[in-house]
């Protein structure tokens, strides 16, 4: 049986039903970042200032390409999770919802662009 009053059911307020899932997912992506960041940053920083052909050669290596793909996907997920918490904490008006949606669109587009670019380099070189 439900202990909720009829009025509470009608207004639909109450638990967000997500529990601590959001918090937990953020820790999981943080652990992934802890592993991926050092693996990504060294080939990337070495390629900076290099030749166009050198970059093609580096990222057509399966290991570098897969790490770069995993990094880009995870970092944008982690960025969105972080931005959402920051926005929820500091922006209490309707603007907060607008900002969270904007952050989500920005992070999705960023991840998609990065993945497309890395795959194109990996497959065309």
């Amino acid at each position: 049986m439900s202990y909720r009053t009829d009025r509470a059911r009608v207004t639909g307020l109450g638990s967000a039903k997500a529990g601590t899932g959001h918090f937990w997912e953020q820790r999981v992506s943080a652990i992934a970042m802890m592993i991926l960041t050092p693996l990504f940053i060294f080939p990337f920083a070495s390629s900076l200032g290099g030749t166009f052909e050198g970059v093609q050669a580096t990222y057509s290596q399966p290991f570098n390409a897969i790490i770069a793909l995993a990094f880009i996907i995870t970092v944008f997920l982690h960025l969105f999770q972080g931005l959402q918490v920051v926005i929820e904490d500091y922006v209490h008006s309707r603007m907060g919802t607008v900002l969270i949606i904007s952050a989500r669109l920005f992070c999705s587009l960023g991840a998609l662009t990065g993945v497309f670019a890395i795959l194109k380099i990996a497959f065309s070189a």
């Binding site: 820790r27 943080a30 652990i31 970042m33 802890m34 960041t37 940053i41 060294f42 990337f44 920083a45 070495s46 900076l48 200032g49 290099g50 166009f52 970059v55 093609q56 990222y59 770069a68 880009i72 970092v75 944008f76 960025l79 972080g82 931005l83 920051v86 920005f106 960023g110 662009t113 990065g114 497309f116 670019a117 890395i118 194109k120 380099i121 065309s124």
Partner: protein
């Protein structure tokens, strides 16, 4: 109960004379670096997109990122990245419920800040 002088009571700790503890500053800096790194990430994706487009596009963004201005931006990005990295590990350890208490928090703060500088120097030196 109705105190006419309520507005003149001293507040404690008043924000203007309250010295932020190191760990509170570091906590705010964790968020600030996280948000700021979004801008660095745009550069990274732009760089990959240019490398997937043409040699000319790549030369433009790569030149921008290795110019003196790019060097400043990327060095600050590296500091932010490794700070967020080491401080994130401190947060993950706290999430397990351990390493609390003034002395241990202070010690991990110092370890984290030292590691930030070392990792930044190592990234610049070895790449």
């Amino acid at each position: 109960m109705a105190d006419a002088n309520q507005g003149n009571r001293p507040l404690s700790p008043h924000i203007s004379i309250y010295r932020m503890p190191l760990n509170a500053t570091m906590s705010i800096l964790h968020r600030a670096t996280g948000v700021a790194l979004a801008a660095s990430l745009v550069l990274v994706v732009w760089w990959f997109l240019a490398a997937a487009t043409s040699a000319d596009c790549f030369a433009f963004i790569d030149g921008l990122m290795t110019s003196w201005f790019g060097d400043i931006v990327l060095t600050l990005s590296l500091l932010a990245l490794w700070y967020h990295f080491t401080n994130g590990i401190r947060h993950l350890i706290w999430d397990t419920g351990s390493n609390f208490g003034q002395k241990r928090v202070m010690r991990s703060a110092m370890t984290g800040l030292t590691a930030t500088l070392l990792l930044t120097a190592a990234t610049i030196y070895f790449t």
